[in-house]
């Protein structure tokens, strides 16, 4: 009803053919809609990766609500506490005192002292000029056996520097202090899920006889702190690159950013750089590449001309993935993204030539409220990502976020396999995509 009344079939401003699209921002900003796809991790999920840690959020009720219920849904309320901010606190100079006293009281009440406290402040604290360092110093003096990590929930500042997600991934390693380097260990930094053991990235680490360390694999705080010693840090998600840079600057550890890519040449270049950094010969990747292409062919045989739609939550490079699939004969119809990262520029240009009619579709534009659940689709779609699944209304989708731990030629092969599974099996889209933090426990 609303759809018809409001003329929401007109997608002007919310959708554009790639041949006519501007890079990197194809749409004018405005009011924003929030689609009910909850798989991408937020700062609570990410912070929970630090074993034996406890989170304390200091912010207004409205902001607290989201983070507390994130913890509740992941059955982790025993690791979450809060201090609310009242209107009066903003003006009577009590902001800092409340946080210090509140955090101290929370720690004293915990049944077991945590190894680390992630203390989050919010936009209002930064606007009010809170002195976070003073608060942390006081807490560190009170609890010298606890590592206090300064964390930020400041979405208002998301365009003023690092986004909250980038900041969180950087602060995830803040307790690491300078120490002798362990040349036999390599860290994968800034991921929220393990990288596939079969990926060339992990294969190279094993082949070089190095130990792989990754926060997603750590079970104890001591294990996690051992990561500080690793001589080499690898990142491959754009949101994680700042973490590697920070560790390089602070600890002097070498950082290699080997971006997740769907471009076969770029993958090969990344792997060569990594092999070089590990001091081993670059293997011949011919077989791996052939396997990836064969997997794509198999997927194409199954999927045929079914339209494929991809969204930016599935991978940081949805345009690159679309270009790969278009190149290998898939009918890629639409990429859902509100903006593109600079890394995507070559793929964007390539895709313009390969599939000029491909649509770029916004996800937050106000019209998208009335575009969900497939109202603009006739016939089925294979979606990659939860937002693509929601907007297209399909039950056939690859349920991944942030690349899904797939990397390299192996990553392409595995993704192709996941596409076949998606094409041949239905999922309950409404139930699946509303679970928060894909891969986390859920009470729902």
């Amino acid at each position: 009803m609303l759809k018809k009344l409001n003329g929401a079939d007109d997608m002007t401003g919310a959708e554009v053919a790639i041949r006519d699209a501007e890079f990197p921002v194809p749409f004018v900003s405005g009011l924003e809609y929030n689609a009910p796809a909850r798989g991408p991790w937020n700062i609570v999920h990410t912070g929970m990766l630090i074993p034996e840690s406890h989170q304390v959020f200091a912010c207004a009720q409205g902001c607290l609500r989201g983070v507390i219920l994130t913890a509740a849904e992941m059955i982790a309320m025993d690791r979450m506490s809060w201090i609310s901010v009242d209107k009066n606190d903003l003006f009577d100079g009590s902001l800092e005192r409340n946080i210090v006293d509140g955090t101290a009281e929370i720690i004293r009440k915990l049944p077991k002292k945590p190894r680390a406290i992630l203390l989050f402040i919010s936009c209002v604290h930064l606007f009010a000029g809170c002195d976070f360092e003073v608060m942390l110093d006081e807490l560190r003096a009170m609890f010298p056996d606890i590592d206090f990590i300064d964390c930020y929930m400041n979405p208002t500042m998301r365009k003023s520097g690092l986004t909250p997600d980038q900041l969180m991934r950087r602060q995830l390693y803040a307790p690491f202090m300078p120490c002798p380097a362990d040349k036999n260990a390599v860290n994968l930094i800034g991921n929220d899920r393990p990288t596939d053991e079969s990926s060339e990235l992990v294969w190279l680490i094993r082949a070089a006889g190095r130990e792989l360390r990754d926060i997603t694999l750590c079970r104890t705080y001591d294990e996690y702190m051992r990561m500080a010693k690793s001589a080499l840090n690898i990142t491959y998600l754009p949101t994680a690159a700042a973490s590697g840079d920070a560790l390089e600057k602070r600890l002097g550890r070498r950082h290699l950013y080997l971006p997740l890519s769907y471009d076969l040449d770029e993958i090969e270049r990344n792997l060569a750089r990594f092999a070089n950094a590990l001091g081993i010969d670059t293997p011949d990747w011919t077989d791996a590449k052939r396997n990836a292409l064969r997997a794509l062919e198999q997927a194409k045989d199954v999927i045929g001309d079914t339209p494929v739609e991809i969204d930016y939550t599935a991978t940081p490079r949805p345009v690159g993935l679309a270009a790969l699939l278009a190149e290998y004969g898939f009918r890629v119809k639409r990429v859902y993204t509100d903006a593109m990262i600079e890394e995507e520029r070559p793929s964007f240009e390539r895709l313009r030539e390969l599939a000029p009619d491909l649509l770029l579709t916004a996800t937050v534009n106000v019209k998208m409220r009335f575009a969900g659940k497939g109202v603009h689709e006739s016939g089925d779609v294979l979606a990659i990502g939860q937002k693509a699944a929601y907007f297209s209304g399909t039950k056939h989708f690859v349920n991944i976020v942030s690349g899904g731990g797939m990397y390299g030629f192996d990553g392409i092969a595995r993704l192709a396999q996941r596409m076949i599974e998606a094409a041949t099996h239905e999922q309950d889209t409404e139930a699946v995509i509303q679970h928060k933090g894909l891969g986390c426990r859920s009470c729902l």
């Binding site: 405005g30 929030n34 909850r38 207004a60 902001c63 209107k87 915990l110 209002v124 606007f127 019209k367």
Partner: protein, 381 residues
């Protein structure tokens, strides 16, 4: 310690209250905030989000626009969206940063209205009060604006239900049961504010003989309708077996006499005997307390963790503003009936019965939510 909690949840905020109350009325609600309010609301506070479309949006406020006071960006974006979507009205409200920046929402709303010709109003949310404050102000603003004509009373006895949102009543059939009960009690429904009724239904609210206030967020609107049309109100929720009859009788009396009544607070919890504790929104909790006392004979006390007028509390009911106060009150109780997220601060020797409240635990326990309207209560003490 005040404003601090080790393990319990926090209630939905005023911005969620605004959105929840206005969700079904065909208006556009814009929360002036960076992103979090809308994400939290649509994930945890709004069970209708997936299946029922509504024009609830965020302004995507940035640091630069906040610091520079760039209200024109907000106005322009709202006007542009309104032209695309043609809402019945526009409601504007804000989160903490606009509060700090001193954003004048009524003035912005006036500007939006002059540019679009669509009724617009600004609300005084801050993200620092509970959903009750936001829902209350939002409903009152809509009724004040759209419910202006004194219509003749309906021939048959009739009522509006005021204050219904999923935050208090979930989407488990409770509101539908209240309407059925109202009908069985001899009242036609004029409108249910604001679940299941349209803006046009609400415009006819003055035709009702009496108003049933089912949540404290409906009280300000009930007072407005009393002042504007002389419609009396009765506060209570028809839970349990015997209390619904008390409430129905109060509605009939109010319709006849024009006197308002608070059956939910006509209790006395001041005796020293240990009581069953019910924390939550006062009108629902007070009604449940009255129902338990009459159906099951267990003395009860309401624990009030939210904003509430004193008149909604019975003697002996207490306010609990933080986790420590809740724990202390639970320890002094015979039994606790509460949202499961209170359980960690309930002593192990005090029996705890789970009664999910969406405004506290969001969707975590929605599958366990209970419809208690006009039926035997599920507990034995």
């Amino acid at each position: 310690m005040k404003q601090t909690a080790r393990i319990i949840s926090i209630h939905a905020a005023d911005t969620s209250g605004v959105c929840s109350m206005l969700y079904e009325l065909g208006g556009m609600v814009v929360v002036h905030d960076a992103s979090g309010c809308n994400s939290t609301y649509s994930t945890h506070d709004e069970p209708r989000w997936y299946r029922q479309d509504s024009m609830i949006y965020i302004s995507a406020l940035t640091e630069a626009d906040a610091i520079l006071g760039n209200d024109e960006k907000l106005i322009g974006d709202v006007v542009s969206a309104a032209k695309d979507l043609s809402p019945r009205f526009i409601a504007l409200c804000g989160a903490p940063v606009p509060l700090l920046a001193g954003t004048d929402f009524p003035a912005i709303a006036a500007e939006v209205e002059s540019r679009t010709g669509i009724p617009a109003f600004g609300l005084h949310t801050s993200g620092m009060r509970s959903y009750l404050a936001g829902a209350s102000e939002a409903l009152k603003a809509v009724v004040s604006r759209f419910c202006t004509d004194a219509l003749p009373r309906t021939d048959a006895p009739s009522a509006n239900i005021i204050g219904a949102t999923p935050l208090d009543f979930s989407i488990n059939g409770t509101v539908e049961s209240m309407i059925d009960w109202l009908n069985r009690s001899g009242f036609e429904l004029v409108s249910c504010m604001a679940m299941g009724s349209t803006l046009d239904d609400i415009r006819r609210a003055s035709a009702a003989h009496v108003n049933l206030v089912v949540s404290s967020c409906g009280l300000a609107t009930a007072e407005l309708l009393l002042e504007r049309f002389g419609t009396p109100w009765v506060a209570g929720v028809p839970v349990g077996k015997k209390f619904p009859a008390v409430l129905a009788s109060a509605l009939k009396t109010a319709a006849k006499t024009g006197e308002c009544a608070l059956p939910c607070a006509e209790r006395d919890a001041s005796s020293p005997v240990k009581k069953l504790a019910i924390p939550g929104e006062t009108i629902f909790s007070g009604s449940l307390a009255a129902a338990i006392e009459s159906d099951l004979g267990a003395p009860c006390r309401v624990l009030c963790p939210l904003e509430a007028e004193d008149r909604l509390l019975a003697p002996g009911d207490i306010r609990i503003f933080d986790e420590d106060a809740a724990a202390e009150a639970f320890a002094a109780s015979s039994v606790v009936i509460a949202d499961p997220m209170y359980a960690p601060v309930c002593p192990p020797d005090v029996p705890f019965h789970r009664l999910p409240h969406e405004a506290f635990s969001g969707r975590c326990y929605r599958k366990e939510s209970l419809n208690l309207i006009d039926r035997p209560l599920p507990w034995r003490f």
